[in-house]
Structures are given as structure tokens and as C-alpha cells.
């Protein structure tokens, strides 16, 4: 083990190729993961923020928030289903907003809601709203009135909330009247009468299983589609498809990392066959030599991960804002563990060759 470590520290150039390739693969893995996380978090935050466990859509909406309609009679029927504790209305309008002093408009999701959720307190009085912190980048400030949509409906920002965007647009959270005014004035083709919301949010009784409550709602209330919160997140446009595509690409990149490590350790082992023969002749076992190889693979992959992470953080700072990369510690941890395991498995390809080295080869016996 000591020899393996000394070789690493005294001849680092020998491991530069494998280390360089693994560093680039780390950057690739972190960027792919960051892109997946960025796309997911920016698209789903408003639904993730809900404390309700079930979301009910109209059946013909194909679980689209923008096309769903739940009228007061349907809400009443949902409230009467076993396991339902409370029902509240929820809706969204995706619009541009004029911000005083800014030449560019801000993309906003104006939410109408009735009850506080995990991220947003109870609704403010009419004409006021909580704004998502991401809208600060568009120049929105506390106490400021923004003019929403082509009808330029005024909405005053009275507080900040975080992680509440929807389909990449920062949220403005308003009460029913404000939201309905914004929707009906700016989207007359999507106008809704008083009491009708796009979806119903359902809080279940403490011990009720949300999936069962959703199923009960679908069977007892006609023309609705009830989803658990997790299903509602997955039903958002593109979320499932993005996750499966990026996961496949990330998986393939891990396999490439394993093959690169296997390849370079196979070359290194070949180069050191004579040395390994001498070590075996003076008593070193195959297990000791293999352990040295594992140590080197671990050190190279760990070093490549650290360097790759630093490079990725640097790159993320200069990547254009259109690319929604978000680097999360959880993703970094998964990448580190995955990379190290893959490197260890890759290095194991050379074990067979080490085991087959004959100590007699040290004195020309091969």
C-alpha cells in the first residue's frame, strides 16, 4: 500500500491521463446532474410547495393546471369524500409583468390560492402578493407595484417567498380576487367565473393514505382526475421525460468513467509487470498489490472529483442564464460516490493480470 501511495506522490504524471479524463467526466456528470436538477426545481417548485397531499383536476384537462376547471359544486363533492379534511382552490396565470424602472419585462406565474402552504403564508389583501425571490433578478423590490399582462393589472409586492416558481417563471402569490382579475383581464379566453378554480388542493386526515383518498375522489366524484402530490409533480409537462433521458445519459457517462479507469489501469499494470514480479519474489502477495491498485484508483477518482467540482463551479458562474444549471450538494455526493465505485470496479479489471504474475519472472523465469 505504501509503495502504491509513494508511486502516486512521486510520479503523479503517470496518472495524469486517467485523472484528466476522470476530471472531465466529473464535469460532465455534474453539469448533466445540475441541468436535470435545475430543470426539475424550476418547473415544479409551486407544486412541491403545497402542503396538500392530493391535487384534483377536471378529467378532460389531462392533468394540466392551465386547462383544468373545478367548479364550486365539484369542490363540495370532493370535500364530502372520506379521508378529505379540507379543500381549497388553486390556479395560475403565466404572464409578463412590467417592473418600474426596468426596460425588460419579468416572466411571472400569478397564483391564486386560498390557504397557506409550506412556503407561502395565508393570502394577503386584494391587490397585494408575495413574490418569489427569483424575481429579484428582474428588478422587483418590496413595496413595488408591478403591472401584469397586456391589461397591466396592478399587483403590489408585500413579501418574499422562496422556491415557488412554476415552469421557470417566478411566482406572485395573490388572493382569489386579485388572481381572478389578473386572469380574466389578461386571458379572457381562459376566464373563470367566481368560485371556479383550476384545481382543488386536498388536505387529507392525518392517518389517511393520500393515494387511497385520491382513488376515492376519482370513484365518487364524476369527471375529475385526482393525483397525489408526487404524481402531480410528475404530470407537469416534460418532468418525467427529462428525468428518464438525463438519468440514462448520466448512467452511460458513469460506465464510460469505469471503462476509462479500467483502460488506464490495464496499461499501467502492463508497464509495471516486471516491478510486480520483483515485489512478489520478495514476498508481496497478490492481495497486497491489488490493494495498492485500489488505493490508487480511489485517490485518482477522489482527486478528479475535487478538481472536477471546482471546474464545474467555475463554469456554472459563466454559463448563460438561459441554461438552468443548479449545483446541489446531494447531486455532488451521488456523483462522488458513483465515480469512486465505478473507478474501483474499473481498476478490478487488472486484478486477474496481477494474480497471474509469476514471482519467478523476476529472475527471468517467464
Amino acid at each position: 500500500m505504501k509503495i502504491a501511495w509513494r508511486e502516486l506522490t512521486r510520479k503523479p504524471s503517470r496518472f495524469l491521463t486517467a485523472g484528466g479524463a476522470l476530471t472531465l467526466l466529473t464535469v460532465l456528470l455534474l453539469l448533466l446532474g445540475g441541468l436535470l436538477d435545475g430543470l426539475y426545481l424550476s418547473a415544479t417548485a409551486a407544486i412541491r410547495a403545497q402542503s396538500a397531499q392530493v391535487v384534483v383536476y377536471s378529467a378532460d384537462s389531462r392533468d394540466s393546471l392551465l386547462r383544468s376547471r373545478i367548479d364550486p359544486a365539484t369542490s363540495q363533492q370532493i370535500a364530502e369524500v372520506d379521508g378529505v379534511q379540507s379543500v381549497s382552490g388553486f390556479g395560475v396565470a403565466l404572464l409578463g409583468a412590467r417592473v418600474p424602472g426596468q426596460s425588460d419585462l419579468a416572466d411571472v406565474s400569478v397564483f391564486g390560492y386560498e390557504a397557506a402552504n409550506a412556503q407561502v403564508p395565508a393570502p394577503l389583501p386584494t391587490g397585494q402578493a408575495y413574490a418569489d425571490e427569483s424575481l429579484k433578478a428582474s428588478g422587483i423590490a418590496l413595496g413595488q407595484t408591478v403591472w401584469v399582462g397586456p391589461a397591466r393589472t396592478p399587483v403590489t409586492v408585500e413579501g418574499w417567498v422562496s422556491d415557488t416558481a412554476y415552469l421557470f417563471q417566478g411566482g406572485l402569490w395573490a388572493n382569489e380576487e386579485t388572481w381572478r382579475t389578473v386572469l380574466n383581464e389578461n386571458r379572457p379566453d381562459a376566464a373563470l367565473p367566481p368560485g371556479t378554480w383550476q384545481v382543488a388542493l386536498v388536505d387529507t386526515h392525518g392517518n389517511a393514505d393520500p393515494a387511497r383518498v385520491a382513488s376515492a375522489i376519482e370513484s365518487q366524484v364524476p369527471e375529475v382526475s385526482a393525483l397525489t402530490k408526487e404524481e402531480a409533480i410528475a404530470a407537469l409537462p416534460g418532468v418525467k421525460e427529462q428525468a428518464s433521458t438525463f438519468t440514462s445519459i448520466i448512467g452511460t457517462t458513469f460506465v464510460v468513467a469505469g471503462l476509462v479507469v479500467a483502460l488506464f489501469f490495464a496499461l499501467l499494470t502492463l508497464e509495471r509487470i516486471g516491478l510486480f514480479g520483483v515485489l512478489k519474489a520478495i514476498g508481496a502477495g497478490s492481495r497486497t498489490l491489488a490493494a495498492g491498485l485500489v488505493l490508487q484508483a480511489f485517490a485518482i477518482s477522489a482527486g478528479a472529483f475535487v478538481l472536477g467540482t471546482v471546474l464545474t463551479i467555475g463554469m456554472a458562474a459563466v454559463i448563460p442564464p438561459e441554461v438552468p444549471v443548479q449545483l446541489l450538494p446531494r447531486r455532488a455526493l451521488i456523483t462522488a460516490v458513483g465515480l469512486i465505485i465505478t473507478a474501483l470496479v474499473g481498476s478490478a479489471i487488472s486484478f486477474r493480470r496481477i494474480i497471474r504474475i509469476d514471482p519467478a519472472s523476476a529472475v527471468g523465469g517467464s
Binding site: G20, A21, L24, D189, E241, V256, L263, A266, I319, V323
Partner: protein, 375 residues
């Protein structure tokens, strides 16, 4: 059999691992290009392949078609701008539809003035609509239309008959219909009977002869308040998501290409260094530098071509198993182009090895102890 192929046969593990790693990287490159190409095609086709050369958005839309509405006043004002040949309202929205009473799907419906700008330009069969309740359909998201299909808007049940088919004209990665503006209005009312007014999404404009779309868009922006006019190419490039898709995939592709170059280049360099004594001996017994270089390059070509072939097989397999809602296909031109690029880069990456082989001194063999020389 040449020296190059004999060496590959005797070092199967090394060359197998290299070919495997390069094959997977080439597969990643091909897969991501296929994915982004198909995504963009299905995302923007409805705008790229319609007849209006200038599109006018509501100023608040920030170049997003979904976010745009224009008023009848805007439509009239645009029509009066000098240089406008034809202009008409254009509607766009996403609907839940059933084709021939089958499973519900999301679909985009464009409503344009029949005979005016906004019609699909890639008709492959049938005809353009000439009455309300008719449409040209573009495939997308796993829906394949046929002429005579009935598309029912849910809820409400308003029916549209498919009278023509267009290629590469889907929008937002959804099946897409091009119908008259009144048909579009009926579809919106079917979906939401509470709709108070149905305003156009955009104004579709055809420039008069002799005026370019860019110039006309500039004139409209100067003369009409509260709108933003874009020529068709700019409108396509400005659609939300297009820039982020293109830039994200380009970044990933660049990194994948760098890894291919690094792995291939250093593999052959290490291999050359390991074989240096044998190569010197070969030079000393008469093998020319050209012969050794040809063998080295043959190995680079064999590894790259083998890897590209394996990657192509993986791509065909991935395409065959792609989701019905987003089908991708293996494009031979893309495979050939990417394979050629990887080959050129691999040869360039081997310059280090080529230089070492070219600089070999046959006289150094006399210092080679194993060959009887003096160190």
C-alpha cells in the same frame, strides 16, 4: 495480416476497453444530437413551416407565443404599415383532443385566416382547409394522423376533420392542427365556455414584394405601439426554451468530444512509449518510419470505426425503444458526420504518438541491452 491488427488481436483487453469507452462516448454524442435535433424540430416546426414571414406579438409576451395576445386594434394597425402585403390574426393554444374517439392527447391548434398568412407550407398529402371545421394535421408526440380522421376537442366535443397532412410542422412537441381562425375560436369556446372574448395570439404578416421580412418587422415595431414584430427566423430562435436546449446540449457535446480526444490521444501515446524499444528494433532491421506510422494510424482508424459502428448499433437500439410520445430515429447522415469528426479528432489526438514514432533513431538499438547492445 498487418502488424497493427496482430497487436490488436494479442491485446484484446486494452483495445477492447478503449473501443468500448470511445463507443459509449460516441453513442452519447449521437444520442444527444438526435435528441436535441428531434426536440427542436418538434418544438419549432409549427412556426418554421408556416407561411407568415413576420409574426407580431403582444409586447408583454416576451416573444412567447403562449404568453401573447393582440387586440383587434393591433391587427388593424399592423395592416396599415407600409410594406405589409397581407396580414391576418393568428390564434394558438393547447387543447385536450381525442382522435377518432381514442385516447385523450394534448394538441396545439393554430387558427389562421384561410387564404392568408399562417398556413402550413409542408403539405405532404390532401389539401389545405377551405372551410371551418377542417384542418391540416402534423404528427407529433406519438400521434399519427390520417386524412379523414376526426379530432374532437375536450370538453365540449367540437369536431374538426383532417383534410391534409404536413411534415415537420408540429409545435411544442405536440400533435398540431392548422385550421381557420373561426375553427380555433370554436375550439377555445368548446374548451372554456366561460371565455369572454377570444383574442388572436399573434398577427401573421406577409411582406409586400420587394421588402424583406427583417425590414418590415423593424417598420412595424417603429410604427405600432404595444407590439413586437419578428421575422420568422428570429421568432423561431427566440421561442422560450430554444436557446437553453441548444446551449445546454452544445456544452455537453463539447465535453464529450474533449474526453474522446483525451482518452484516444493518451492511450496511443502510452502504448507507443511502452513499445518504444520494440519500435526502435523494427526500425533497425529495416522497417521504415512510414510503415510504423501506417500501422499506428491503422489502429486509430480501426478503433474509431469500430467504436462508431458500435455506437450506431446502440443508437438504433435506443431509437427502437424510444417513447411513443417522443420517437427518435437513427439518422445515417448524423452517424457518418459524427464518425468522421471523431476519426479526424482521434488522428489529431495521436499527433504525440506520431511524432515519437517519426523521431525514432534506429541506431539506439545498439544501446538496447536485451538486443545485445551496450546501455
Amino acid at each position: 495480416m498487418s502488424l497493427a491488427t496482430i497487436e490488436i488481436r494479442r491485446a484484446k483487453l486494452r483495445f477492447g476497453l478503449l473501443t468500448g469507452a470511445v463507443a459509449l462516448l460516441v453513442f452519447l454524442i449521437l444520442f444527444m444530437q438526435t435528441l436535441s435535433g428531434q426536440l427542436l424540430k418538434e418544438f419549432i416546426g409549427g412556426i418554421r413551416n408556416q407561411s407568415a414571414e413576420v409574426l407580431v406579438y403582444g409586447a408583454e409576451a416576451r416573444r412567447s407565443i403562449e404568453g401573447s395576445i393582440v387586440t383587434p386594434g393591433d391587427v388593424d394597425a399592423v395592416a396599415k404599415v407600409p410594406g405589409v402585403g397581407q396580414s391576418a390574426p393568428l390564434g394558438e393554444n393547447t387543447f385536450t383532443v381525442q382522435v377518432n374517439g381514442g385516447e385523450s392527447k394534448d394538441a396545439t391548434i393554430f387558427g389562421y385566416e384561410l387564404g392568408g398568412p399562417g398556413a402550413p407550407t409542408t403539405l405532404t398529402s390532401g389539401r389545405l382547409p377551405n372551410a371551418d371545421g377542417e384542418a391540416v394535421a402534423a404528427d407529433g408526440a406519438g400521434v399519427s394522423f390520417k386524412i379523414g380522421d376526426t379530432v374532437q376537442v375536450r370538453p365540449g366535443g367540437y369536431e374538426i376533420a383532417v383534410v391534409g397532412l404536413a411534415r415537420d410542422a408540429s409545435f411544442n412537441v405536440q400533435p398540431t392542427l392548422f385550421a381557420s381562425f373561426p375553427t380555433y375560436e370554436q375550439a377555445v369556446r368548446s374548451q372554456n365556455p366561460e371565455a369572454t372574448i377570444i383574442l388572436p395570439t399573434l398577427v401573421a404578416v406577409e411582406p409586400a414584394p420587394g421588402i424583406s421580412p427583417t425590414e418590415l418587422a423593424k417598420r412595424i415595431n417603429e410604427q405600432v405601439q404595444g407590439v413586437e414584430a419578428l421575422d420568422r427566423d428570429t421568432a423561431v430562435a427566440s421561442l422560450p426554451g430554444v436557446a437553453s436546449i441548444t446551449q445546454s446540449f452544445n456544452l455537453i457535446l463539447l465535453l464529450a468530444f474533449i474526453v474522446v480526444v483525451l482518452v484516444t490521444g493518451f492511450f496511443f501515446l502510452i502504448l507507443t512509449v511502452q513499445k518504444i524499444q520494440s519500435l526502435i528494433l523494427l526500425r533497425a532491421i529495416g522497417a521504415s518510419t512510414g510503415y510504423l506510422l501506417r500501422n499506428l494510424l491503422l489502429q486509430v482508424v480501426l478503433v474509431t470505426v469500430g467504436a462508431t459502428a458500435a455506437a450506431a448499433i446502440l443508437l438504433v437500439f435506443a431509437a427502437a425503444n424510444s417513447s411513443a410520445d417522443f420517437q427518435v430515429s437513427a439518422d445515417p447522415v448524423l452517424i457518418l458526420g459524427t464518425g468522421t469528426a471523431v476519426l479526424v479528432l482521434a488522428v489529431m489526438a495521436s499527433i504525440g504518438s506520431i511524432r515519437r514514432v517519426a523521431r525514432l533513431d534506429p541506431a539506439a538499438a545498439t544501446q538496447r541491452m536485451a538486443g545485445g547492445g551496450l546501455a
